[in-house]
């Protein structure tokens, strides 16, 4: 039982960013404790068990993959900072991914962990745009995307300076938005650059056993460094006085104190805990972008249905991409298909079952207020609609009835699930649209890390925790 009531640093939330911050701080001798409301770690990137199966949440693929020997990228920085050997993650690369646009995916751009593939696809499908595309890539490569005090610039405007075909523009934005954007229609250019590098210039990989491998490594490091954690014990309030956090009131009614507090739960969510409320002008606005995800487990590998090539497919059937909170409960016109079986796990390993995941934009308000029976009906209805939409972008099934018979089980999460398990207001997976690069809050000794600090993806999340621990705690002591 952890009974100590004073810490050098208290961390709110045991997601990727909180764990990474904790490892840094504990490694350098800080007395640190992570407070997590749930009984599982991982936050937005966790996993759950349902009738004996483990399902990943969040993670389709770990972005930012680079091969051994490539240095100076986010993945290598994070491995060094957390003293993790790359073998510990045992990452397996994607086979290929695609961006598919048009009613049946007529325009398609393939990409792999070799950037030349995407460049070649752009040159072939958009010959008039390739010079502009190369100029854009040059800008992306030299942009300082991790500076903590960059001014926000519209990515749409920056991209249009180089690319004049709206179809190509939308096809480039589609994966970057779906994998991390908290803003509708546009992105901040710094965020665009982070995502462009993470997805296109670097790439996708995952451990054979999924996100739990990464979490296991982080937890082991944290424990070995002497970090404490308290599970099923969230922070109910940050008691403030004289512009500083004086104490944390916990869910179990007890109180602890800490010199520094690092919160990974989001900007508006953190402001909401401050008691009495700090006068923040203007207060942070929660994000509007939420998602549903359907999961189908099959007793066959996807290759059996001719779906053995694609790891991830980003799809859109409309002339323009509408990355925004939908009017209806779900917008099935665009989304992301993930086939976890199609990572290159090598000659010996094969995931025991086929898995098909499909993610689409959803409207939180439409889901939040439903009574239980209506909620179940809506889930069933949209599950079918999402499948039907996504299937247009995969090779046609040779035998629809055989596919249906191969389904072992299905599951679906909605904005409601996200709110319940992550605490993000409005089921906003990627947090609030306005990010806080320096992690500052209304209180001098409370800092943000994770989604609302603004480094994206799971590698970004971990780097966010590392950066904030370095910047606010380790460098100043």
């Amino acid at each position: 039982m952890n009974t100590c009531s004073h810490y050098d640093v208290a961390i709110i939330g045991a997601g990727m960013s909180g764990l990474a911050a904790g490892i840094r701080l504990a490694h350098f001798g800080k007395k640190v404790c992570i407070f997590e409301r749930h009984n599982a770690v991982g936050g937005l990137n966790g996993f759950y068990s349902l009738s004996g199966r483990k399902f990943d949440v969040g993670l389709h693929a770990m972005t930012n993959f680079v091969r051994p020997g490539v240095k100076g990228t986010p993945l290598t920085k994070l491995l060094r900072q957390l003293r993790i050997a790359r073998e510990e993650f045992a990452l397996c690369e994607q086979k290929q991914s695609r961006v598919a646009f048009g009613p049946r995916g007529e325009t398609s751009l393939r990409f792999t962990n070799d950037f030349a593939v995407l460049e070649g696809e752009v040159a072939q499908a958009f010959p008039a745009q390739i010079d502009g595309f190369r100029r854009l890539v040059a800008v992306v490569k030299t942009f300082d995307d991790v500076g903590l005090d960059a001014q926000p610039v519209s990515a749409r405007l920056m991209v249009r300076g180089h690319i004049s075909d709206p179809l190509l523009e939308d096809m480039l934005f589609c994966p970057l938005m779906y994998y991390g954007s908290a803003t509708e229609h546009d992105m901040e250019f710094g965020q665009f650059v982070i995502m462009f590098k993470a997805l296109f210039l670097e790439g996708f990989a995952r451990p054979f056993d999924g996100v739990r491998v990464i979490l296991r490594v982080l937890l082991a490091k944290y424990r070995a460094a002497g970090g404490e954690r308290r599970m099923k014990c969230g922070v109910k309030a940050i008691v403030a006085d004289a512009g500083r956090a004086q104490a944390l009131l916990l869910d179990d009614g007890s109180t602890i104190t800490a010199d520094h507090v690092i919160s990974s739960i989001g900007a508006p969510e953190t402001e909401d805990l401050i008691t009495p409320p700090a006068r923040v002008a203007p207060p942070s606005v929660p994000g509007r972008l939420s998602f549903v995800e359907t999961i189908t487990v099959l007793n066959q590998q996807p290759a059996r249905w001719g779906w053995g090539d694609d790891t991830i497919v980003f799809f859109n059937d409309s002339p323009r991409l509408e990355y925004a909170c939908p009017v209806g409960a779900v917008d099935a016109r665009s989304g992301v298909i993930c086939l976890p079986n199609n990572f290159d796990f090598g000659p010996v390993q094969t995931l025991p079952e086929g898995i098909v995941r499909v993610t689409c934009l959803a409207n939180n308000d439409r889901w939040a207020s439903l009574a239980e029976a209506a909620y179940r009906d809506e889930k069933a209805r949209w599950f079918a609609a999402v499948q039907a939409s996504a299937r247009r972008f995969l090779p046609p099934l040779p035998d629809q009835a055989a596919y249906e018979r191969a389904v072992l089980t299905t599951d679906m999460f909605t904005p409601r699930t996200i709110t319940r398990y992550t605490g993000h207001f409005g089921g906003a997976i990627y947090g609030a649209p306005v990010k806080h690069r320096q992690g500052r809050t209304a209180l001098a000794n409370v800092y943000l890390c994770g989604t609302d600090q603004g480094f994206l993806g799971i590698v970004g999340a971990m780097l966010s925790g590392i950066s904030m621990a370095n910047y606010h705690v380790l460098k100043s002591t």
Binding site: H27, F28, G29, P68, G69, K71, G72, T76, K77, L79, R80, Q81, R83, A85, R86, I466, N470, L474, K475
Partner: protein
Amino acid sequence: MTKDECKQVVLDIIADIAPDEDLSNVKPDVRLRDQLQLDSMDFLDIVMELRKRHAIEVPEAEYPKLASLDSCADYLTPKFNALPPKS
């Protein structure tokens, strides 16, 4: 502690921070940054590992003195030798 021993202390730290770097041919008179891929995060870690392992403090204004192995040895050896004996 001799200057050579001091260089070894720094190399041991770099080996732990950056296990993906080849340290077999580090030239003592060349800036570490010019022969190894080390960024500001890595240099911060060298400073913090010096504090953690050896109780040596390097104020931020003096980080430039850690530029090469030779300059590290010139700067750090007197600090090591001034440490109180371990009891």
